[in-house]
C-alpha cells in the first residue's frame, strides 16, 4: 500500500485490498467483450472525413468528388503592387517539409509589404485592432478582394470541424477553430484553426508532420492529392498547397507556424464569382503569420509566453495572462525560475478545491498553471481568465465569482473547505482540512478585473500547511494580482 507513507490515517491494508480488488474485478467485464478488429480501428476514422466531403458536396450542390491537381501559373491579376505577397510569380514548390520556423520573421519588417487592397499601415492597424490568433472577417475580405466581409464564426457552434485534410492531425492543444462563410451564403467556404504546443520544437515537428501528410496524401481527401505551391515573396515559408475541388475549382490549404503556434486554413470553395488565386491565399498566409507573430510577442523572439488551456475556440487572448516567469520569487520558487506547463484539461474552469463559483465549462475562459521550472510535481499557482458572458458586466462577473467564496464552507466526506475573506476586495484564504488529522492545505485566491475590458482574472496560490506563513503569501498574491490588473 504505497500511500501509507503519505497518509497517517486509519486506512488499512484490508481497505486497500478491497478497493484494488474491486477495480481489478472490472477487468472481467472488459475481457468478456472481444476487441474490435484492428482493420476496423485503422479504418474507423475515415468516416468523418467522408461525411465532411459529402456534406460539403451537398451544400455546394457538387456532383461528385472527382478532383485533380491544378496548375496555377498565369492566374495572377495584373494590378498588384510590387511587394504585395500576391504580386509575386507563382511556382510549384517541391520543398514542403522544411523544418524552418517562421518565428524569426517580423511582420513589420517583412519583405512582404502592403498587399494591394490595403496599405501596409492599414494592415498593421487592422491586425493590431484585435488580439486574436486567426484572420478576422475584414482581413478575409481584404485579402480575397470580396465585396463584403465574410462571417467568421466559432466552429463549435456548428458542431466542430472535421479533421484536417489527409487526416493530418498535428496533436497539440486546439485553441481556436472557426468557419468562414461568405455574406448571404448558406454554408462555409473555408475553415481556420490554431493549435498550441509545449514548445516551439514541438510546433515545428507538427508542421513537418502535416507537410509530410499533405505530400503523400491518400484517401480520404482530394483524389488528386495536394500540390505544393509557393510564391517568391513567401519563399521562406512555402506552406501552401492547392487541390482541385469537386466542382473543378481551386481549393487551398495553408499552414503557418510561429513559436508554439501552428495554424491551418482550408478553403474548398470560392466565396465570390471567381476562383481564389494563389496571390490571394498568399495574402491570407501573410495575415495568418502576422497574427501569430502578434500573439507570440511581435516576433521579437521573446519568452515563450503562457501556455493556456481552455475550451477549443474559446480561449481568451494570451496577452491577458501574467507572464509565467513573473510568478517566480524567493517565496514561491525559492529563487528559482517558474514556467507554465501542460496538464490535462478536462473542460472544467474550476481552479480551487472548493467554493469556486466558476463551474460552467461554457463561455470563454482559459487556465494557465505555473510550476517551478524543470521540476516535476511542482505546480504552485494558476491563473484563470474568464470573459464576461453576453449581457453580463465585469462587475457582475466579479461579484459572481467572489460570492462563491464569501462565507463558504464545504464538507465532502472527511474534508472540509473553508474560505475566509482577505484584507483586499476579491481576496480569500481557502483552507481544506481533514477530519483524520492529515495536514491541511491552503489556497490564496485573488479575483481581479483586467485592464482590458470584459475579463476577470482569478489567481490561486497553492500552499501546503507545513510551509505556511499567511502574510508572506498574501504579499505574493498582492504582487501577482496587481500584475493581472495591468493586463
Amino acid at each position: 500500500m504505497r500511500e501509507n507513507d503519505v497518509f497517517d490515517d486509519d486506512w488499512s491494508a484490508e481497505d486497500d485490498d478491497l478497493v484494488r480488488s474491486a477495480l481489478d474485478s472490472l477487468r472481467a467485464d472488459v475481457t468478456a467483450v472481444p476487441l474490435a478488429p484492428v482493420s476496423e480501428v485503422k479504418g474507423g476514422v475515415q468516416a468523418p472525413r467522408r461525411s465532411r466531403w459529402l456534406m460539403t458536396g451537398a451544400g455546394l450542390a457538387a456532383a461528385g468528388l472527382v478532383v485533380a491537381a491544378v496548375g496555377l501559373s498565369g492566374v495572377l491579376r495584373s494590378d498588384r503592387h510590387t511587394g504585395d505577397p500576391a504580386a509575386s510569380s507563382t511556382t510549384q514548390s517541391s520543398t514542403t517539409t522544411s523544418s524552418t520556423s517562421s518565428s524569426s520573421s517580423d511582420a513589420s519588417s517583412s519583405s512582404l509589404s502592403s498587399p494591394a487592397t490595403l496599405t501596409e499601415e492599414q494592415w498593421r492597424d487592422l491586425i493590431a485592432s484585435s488580439a486574436v490568433l486567426l484572420p478576422i472577417g475584414t482581413e478575409w475580405q481584404q485579402a480575397l478582394g470580396l465585396e463584403a466581409a465574410p462571417t467568421v464564426a466559432d466552429a463549435a457552434a456548428s458542431g466542430g470541424l472535421e479533421d484536417p485534410l489527409c487526416l493530418a492531425n498535428p496533436g497539440g492543444m486546439l485553441v481556436d477553430a472557426q468557419t468562414v462563410t461568405a455574406a448571404g451564403a448558406p454554408a462555409p467556404f473555408a475553415s481556420e484553426r490554431v493549435w498550441i504546443f509545449d514548445d516551439e520544437s514541438a510546433a515545428v515537428a507538427a508542421l513537418n508532420t502535416m507537410s509530410t501528410a499533405f505530400g503523400s496524401c491518400a484517401t480520404p481527401g482530394p483524389k488528386g492529392g495536394l500540390t505544393p505551391q509557393s510564391t517568391d515573396a513567401l519563399e521562406e515559408r512555402p506552406f501552401l498547397w492547392s487541390f482541385t475541388t469537386d466542382e473543378g475549382g481551386a481549393g487551398w490549404v495553408v499552414l503557418t507556424q510561429v513559436g508554439r503556434h501552428l495554424s491551418y486554413l482550408e478553403l474548398w470553395e470560392s466565396p465570390g464569382t471567381s476562383e481564389v488565386e494563389l496571390g490571394q491565399i498568399a495574402r491570407l498566409s501573410w495575415v495568418m503569420n502576422a497574427r501569430l507573430l502578434q500573439a507570440d510577442g511581435g516576433g521579437s523572439g521573446s519568452a515563450a509566453g503562457p501556455l493556456v488551456l481552455g475550451p477549443p475556440g474559446k480561449v481568451p487572448p494570451l496577452n491577458l495572462f501574467v507572464e509565467p516567469a513573473d510568478f517566480a520569487s524567493p517565496v514561491l520558487t525559492d529563487g528559482g525560475a517558474s514556467e507554465s506547463a501542460s496538464w490535462e484539461f478536462e473542460g472544467s474552469p474550476v481552479v480551487t478545491q472548493g467554493c469556486d463559483a466558476d463551474t460552467s465549462g461554457s463561455g470563454v475562459f482559459g487556465i494557465m498553471k505555473v510550476k517551478i521550472a524543470g521540476k516535476d510535481a511542482s505546480f504552485f499557482a494558476s491563473q484563470r481568465i474568464r470573459q464576461v458572458a453576453e449581457g453580463e458586466s465585469v462587475q457582475e462577473l466579479q461579484d459572481r465569482l467572489t460570492t462563491g467564496f464569501t462565507g463558504c464552507t464545504v464538507t465532502e466526506g472527511q474534508t472540509t473547505t473553508t474560505a475566509v475573506t482577505g484584507a483586499h476586495p476579491g481576496q480569500f484564504t481557502v483552507t481544506t482540512t481533514f477530519a483524520d488529522g492529515t495536514d491541511p492545505f491552503t489556497e490564496f485566491v485573488a479575483i481581479t478585473p483586467t485592464k482590458t475590458p470584459g475579463y476577470v482574472s482569478t489567481i490561486t496560490l497553492w500552499v501546503s500547511a507545513a510551509e505556511l506563513n499567511h502574510e508572506v503569501y498574501i504579499g505574493e498574491l498582492n504582487r501577482l494580482s496587481a500584475l493581472a490588473a495591468q493586463r
Partner: protein, 163 residues
Amino acid sequence: MTALDFDSFYRDTAHRVIHLVYATTGDLTLAQDCTQEAYARAWQRWSQVSAADDPLSWVRTVARRLAISQWRKDTNRGEAHRRLALVPEEPARPAEDRAYVVAALKTLSPQHREVLALHYLLDMSVEQIADDLGSPVGTIKARLHHGRKALAEALRAKEGGHA
C-alpha cells in the same frame, strides 16, 4: 515500428486501456468507443506515436480525454432526455457481480474516480498523477484520500445490499 507492430500493440494493450477508462467513467460502452478512437488516432500518426518513449501512455491519455469529454456531453444529453421525457439507448451493462462495483464507483466524482484508477490500475504515485493532471500534490492526496475511503464505504454498503 511497422504496421504489423501496430496490430500487436493494439491487441496487447487495448484491454488495459478500456479497463482504465471503464474505471474512470463507470461506463463500459464509452470506454470501448473511446479506446477504439484513441487507437485509431494513434494509427493516423503511428510513426510519431511509436517513436515516443511510451506509446501506451499516449493512447491512454487520449482515450481518457475523449471519455471525459464524451461523458460530459452524455451527461448533458441525459439531462435533456429527462427534461423531454425521452428514453436514451441502453448502455452496455456490467456483469451482475460487478454491478455493485460500478454503482459504488458512480457515487464518486469523476475527479476522484480518475485519481483512483490512475493510482490503483496504473500504479502511479501521487506525484506522478499531480504532474499528469497539473494539480498540486496536496489536491491529489486529498482526492485519493477521500476517494478511496468513499469507495470502500460504498463498496461495503453495496456489497451488503448485494449479498
